[in-house]
């Protein structure tokens, strides 16, 4: 089962994981990652914009690649769009597989690809206004690990 969503508004990572785990009782393990808006640096808010015709399809493509590569029983990828506050969840990933290494690696793979290849544009609000965010060099290095 693949559960891939764009979400406007706050969501509960714990609730989503509970449901995902319950739906994959046959799996040997479930790995997950939850990204949050990082507090600090004077950031007051983070805004993610997306382009509907491309963004969800792009996420589906990344997760399907992970499913084929790591032999998953299922995967979940929820990503928020809109304005969010420090400490709030931005992204939740989960992968269920027969063996733990596949589940852990799948989550790592999907997150690295989302960070540099997904159709999101991000800006953060600081005391002096909004600033657009570019990918870090480290994000490009992270994705290169999977080639």
């Amino acid at each position: 089962m693949l559960d891939i969503r764009l979400i406007e508004g706050i969501f509960s990572p714990a609730g989503a994981l509970h449901a995902f785990t319950a739906a994959h009782g046959e799996a040997g393990g479930v790995a997950s990652f939850c990204g949050q808006v990082r507090p600090g640096g004077g950031v007051e808010a983070l805004e993610l914009t997306h382009y509907a015709p491309l963004t969800l399809a792009g996420m589906e493509d990344i997760v399907q690649k992970a499913q084929a590569r790591f032999v998953l029983d299922g995967a979940l990828a929820w990503h928020r769009v809109g304005t969010m506050m420090p400490g709030e969840p931005i992204v939740l990933l989960a992968a269920a597989a027969t063996h733990r290494r596949n589940a852990i690696d799948a989550v790592d793979f999907v997150m690295d690809h989302l960070k540099s290849a997904a159709w999101f544009w991000k800006r953060e609000k600081r005391s002096d206004g909004w600033h657009w965010i570019s990918p870090r060099e480290a994000d490009h290095e992270d994705i290169a690990r999977w080639r």
């Binding site: 993610l48 914009t49 491309l54 990503h79 989302l114 290849a117 999101f120 544009w121 657009w132 990918p135």
Partner: protein, 86 residues
């Protein structure tokens, strides 16, 4: 009409999220689009869109080469600057 959607910082430069342009019978190509952006928007907008890192999608399909643009009445062109990542 041809709809042009500005993503990321291009929306700031355009000062709007999208524009509607009248279509012509012979289609809108890449050079024609840049001319429209300059005349209806600004030189700054046209220059920002001209950057090699900006990609184009037509009706949700990414173009492999911007020179392939041939937009017709009813089409939606998205101007996609480099992504920030998720």
């Amino acid at each position: 009409m041809i709809k042009v959607v500005y993503l990321g910082k291009l929306a700031d430069i355009a000062r709007e999220a999208q524009s509607d342009f009248a279509s012509t019978s012979d289609g809108l190509g890449w050079a024609g689009l840049l001319d429209l952006l300059e005349s209806h928007g600004s030189t700054e907008l046209a220059d920002a869109v001209r950057a090699d890192t900006v990609k184009l999608a037509v009706n949700g399909q990414l173009l492999a080469d911007r020179a392939l643009l041939d937009a017709r009445d009813g089409d939606e062109i998205a101007l996609l600057p480099p992504v920030s990542g998720g």
